[in-house]
């Protein structure tokens, strides 16, 4: 099933897009695996998305990188917040 992946803040500049519609293979079953798949062929993207300061949200809930991705419609990669 298609997943919408969102890249916020400086990550959208690294990735070159604010969002992507993707259809990853079955082995992409966690955010960590999704990072590996998205970063294939671009070490810079891999490094940026893997940074410990980057938070991941699945369907608008902040989760760990090893959480299940099954059924997810939207995954977001979020660099450190700077509101206020």
């Amino acid at each position: 099933m298609a997943i919408r992946v969102l890249f916020f803040g400086r990550l959208h500049e690294v990735v070159g897009a604010r969002e992507r519609e993707i259809e990853p293979p079955d082995w992409v079953d966690t955010p960590a695996a999704l990072i590996d798949w998205l970063a294939a062929g671009d070490a810079r993207i891999g490094a940026a998305l893997s940074a410990p300061s980057v938070r991941v949200a699945v369907d608008q809930a902040i989760v760990e990188r090893d959480s299940p991705l099954a059924g997810a419609r939207e995954v977001a990669f979020m660099p450190p917040f700077s509101g206020g």
């Binding site: 916020f8 803040g9 902040i62 977001a76 979020m78 917040f81 509101g83 206020g84």
Partner: protein
């Protein structure tokens, strides 16, 4: 969330802090104490041309709601309002307005202080500053922001965290 107590607004257009304050005050005319905070874009003496703020529609409102709920659980508040600007702003424009109402002043002060610390680092917003020279940079939280937030941890020895407020 206590929807009657908490108001959250994300605005793509400039907001008027005094209109927000007046609206808030009408909601809590019986409160003895109202503390507010207004953040404005700093021009840094002409060095900054503009500030762009992006957010994650849906999640941002939800996370701000969680932060406001924590404040309401921690202090005996009558009402809380948070207005946050997104989009491109010029120096001097309001970015964030936070208000808290309580019977007495200490819970109102502490709640606004807490809300600001958490909005800085726990709400999904991202800031990019464009300089007068055209250079752009993403703003990340300062070490000071983490220290400020740490004051609210359950075991922090600061006065803010030590006080126990009862409803």
């Amino acid at each position: 969330m206590d929807a009657e107590k908490v108001s959250i607004r994300i605005s793509w257009t400039p907001f008027d802090p005094e209109a927000e304050a007046a609206h808030f005050r009408r909601r809590c005319a019986r409160a003895g104490a109202i503390a507010t905070f207004l953040g404005q874009v700093r021009g840094e003496n002409g060095a900054v041309a503009s500030l762009a703020l992006e957010h994650y529609p849906g999640l941002t409102e939800a996370e701000i709601g969680r932060i406001a709920e924590q404040a309401c659980a921690r202090w005996p508040l009558e009402a809380v309002a948070i207005a946050h600007r997104v989009g491109v702003m010029a120096p001097g424009e309001p970015i964030v307005f936070v208000a808290a109402a309580a019977a007495h002043r200490r819970p109102a002060f502490e709640a606004v202080d807490f809300l600001m610390d958490y909005l800085k680092s726990e709400a999904p917003f991202w800031k990019k500053e464009t300089g007068a020279d055209g250079s752009a940079r993403w703003i990340e939280p300062r070490a000071e922001d983490s220290r400020d937030k740490a004051r609210w941890a359950p075991d922090a020895s600061s006065q803010g965290a030590q006080r126990a407020w009862r409803k």
